[in-house]
């Protein structure tokens, strides 16, 4: 069996599944998602995303076929879901009037290593395929 046909070859996986895209998205919505994704990537990976974009948006009937063979239901990463959940009210009231806006990454940076037992294990693959941010796990919330 050639390289291309190995089931674990990511190129063979349905693009919706592989990139975590909701198969019911329209071509315009897909473009938006992929745009953001592509901006973060190195040129080689960007070529891959570009090829997938063309595959998904060139011809509607082709996109529909691919969508039907993707697992239904959207699949945002746990990480993204976490971001959407409203944060717990801050317990440390106003002592640090730091003027900078904390980003999510800053918060995560503070809380130790993902390999600590009891901490939630976040799979690296749940992240967008960025390659240059390593997220530390969330520890226990204060």
């Amino acid at each position: 069996m050639s390289e291309h046909d190995r089931p674990n070859n990511p190129a063979r996986q349905n693009p919706f599944d592989r990139l975590g895209l909701d198969p019911s998205l329209s071509a315009a919505q897909l473009t938006e998602r992929l745009q953001r994704m592509a901006e973060r990537l190195t040129p080689e990976k960007r070529d891959e995303v570009r090829a997938i974009w063309r595959e998904l948006t060139l011809k509607d009937s082709e996109r529909i076929k691919l969508a039907f063979f993707a697992h239904p239901g959207s699949s945002e990463s746990i990480d993204e879901l976490r971001r959407k959940v409203a944060p717990a009210p801050p317990q440390i009231a106003g002592e640090d009037e730091a003027n900078f806006e904390a980003t999510v990454f800053d918060a995560l940076l503070e809380f130790g290593d993902s390999n600590q037992p009891g901490g939630l294990q976040i799979d690296e693959s749940l992240l967008p395929d960025a390659g240059f941010m390593r997220i530390r796990s969330e520890g226990l919330k204060p």
Partner: protein, 455 residues
């Protein structure tokens, strides 16, 4: 097309972020277990499976089928139940029960995709046994999905309700099998076009067949499935045409000026292996038989030293095709190939090691091609030979006078038989010079033994 269940919305309603997060976490624990169990231990979940299959978990929980397997799965997932190696057998039963209890089309959509993936995994390990199980499960799941109005709602949700899209929608389903078939037959492999991977070919062929049969058996009116059935038929036809083309090329490349029997047999053995798996139709049978007969004639002209061993080997290699051709002709198909088919049978008779049973071949040849000159001639000679044997025995009877009653009867029937044989021989091949001679001999014996020919 009757909906099997109530109309289910393909896309579940928006949930609050907390609920979604919870569902995601739940999926994380259940998905690996489910995958392992569903694949009978053959497949391990991938890292992104929990994310991709989150929707499946949600869908399952709302289905009646979950009542059957839910407890077991959850127990396995949190480690409270041990995974028994022989659990596979009773799992099969459990799964069947769950299917009977009912899955929503959305869940089955996931199942169809999952089982297809398991099938691919099994094939990559050349585990055809499991691959077959998974393929069948996948096909069954697809048919369940399409036996509801899920597809209608899905297409509508995608804004693609036109018929053309619908008809072509399922093509990816068979794409992998068709390419597997062609790879197994080396149809795209110009470097080694005669290499055969029979297990792959067989699997692919039977998988396609199974699909086509299931579609037919379901009596569905779903355009996507009907179009798929047509596509399978078309792919089969195309494959057969390509096989014949390759066969022609192989025959063309044979060098008969210095014949090597193994090289001559190779194309026929190749074709034989293939059409052991694929069905042979009249066209194929005719084509291959023609090629064999053609070579047969050329060999006889070339008169190589090993002709007597070479011919039977060649005939043996091509035999299944001629046998099939014979059957087709007798059923009324394959007009115009009677002569060739008969030639083949005559060759077989001629090159048969033992003389007993040779006439059977010539008779078959005549049945297939009445009036076939060569067969007639050969059969005529066979009759004469049988006649000659009889005559030999008859001559040994001393005289009419000394015959015992039993012997007399036997002699009488022998002579009758002899006349019969002579008549047949003459009818078959009147220009046989020895017939007159035999006639005289027989007449002489009949007279000697007082058994004149009464007719």
């Amino acid at each position: 097309m009757k909906p099997r269940q109530n109309t289910t919305l393909p896309i579940p309603p928006e949930r609050a972020p907390e609920r979604k997060l919870l569902a995601a976490l739940r999926a994380k624990t259940l998905v690996p277990t489910l995958i392992e169990v569903l694949s009978r231990g053959q497949v391990k979940a991938r890292e992104d499976d929990a994310r991709i299959l989150r929707d499946w978990i949600e869908s399952l929980h709302a289905d009646p089928g979950w009542n059957i397997i839910g407890a077991r799965i959850e127990a396995l997932a949190d480690g409270s139940a041990k995974r028994a190696p022989h659990a596979s057998a009773d799992w099969t039963q459990l799964w069947a029960q769950a299917v009977a209890a009912g899955w929503s089309p959305r869940s089955d959509h996931h199942h169809a995709l999952l089982f297809a993936r398991f099938c691919d995994e099994a094939l990559s390990k050349t585990d055809f046994e499991h691959a077959e199980i998974f393929w069948k499960e996948s096909v069954a799941a697809w048919l369940r999905v399409l036996d509801s109005d899920y597809l209608d709602a899905w297409l509508k949700g995608m804004g693609a309700a036109d018929l053309k899209t619908r008809r072509h929608l399922l093509e990816p389903l068979i794409a992998a099998r068709v390419s597997q078939l062609r790879r197994g037959l080396s149809l795209e492999n110009a470097a080694n076009p005669t290499a055969l991977d029979l297990p792959q070919t067989r699997f692919a062929w039977q998988a396609l067949n199974h699909l086509a049969e299931q579609i037919k058996a379901s009596g569905t009116g779903e355009p996507a499935l009907l179009a798929l059935g047509e596509e399978v038929a078309r792919a089969r036809g195309e494959t057969q045409a390509d096989i014949l083309r390759q066969f022609a090329r192989m025959i063309d490349a044979l060098d008969l000026s210095s014949p090597d029997i193994e090289a001559l047999r190779a194309p026929f053995l190749w074709a034989g292996a293939i059409f052991d798996i694929l069905p042979m139709d009249a066209a194929v049978a005719a084509r291959v038989s023609d090629a064999a007969v053609d070579i047969g004639w050329k060999l006889r002209k070339l008169k190589p030293d090993d002709l007597d061993t070479a011919m039977p080997k060649l005939l043996n290699a091509a035999r299944p095709f001629n046998d099939a051709l014979e059957a087709f002709i007798l059923e009324g198909e394959a007009f115009g190939h009677n002569s060739t088919c008969a030639d083949f049978l005559v060759f077989r008779g001629e090159h048969r090691a033992r003389s007993k049973g040779r006439d059977a071949y010539f008779e078959r040849a005549i049945a297939v091609c009445p009036g076939h000159r060569n067969a007639s001639m050969m059969l005529s000679y066979e009759r004469l030979r049988a006649l000659s044997d009889l005559l030999l025995r008859v001559r040994m009877v001393p005289s009419a006078i000394t015959m015992l009653p039993g012997t007399a009867t036997r002699v009488e029937s022998a002579i009758a038989e002899a006349w019969e044989l002579l008549d047949q021989a003459e009818a078959l091949y009147p220009s046989n010079e020895t017939i007159q001679e035999y006639r005289q001999q027989l007449a002489h014996e009949a007279e000697r033994l007082g058994r004149e020919k009464s007719s």
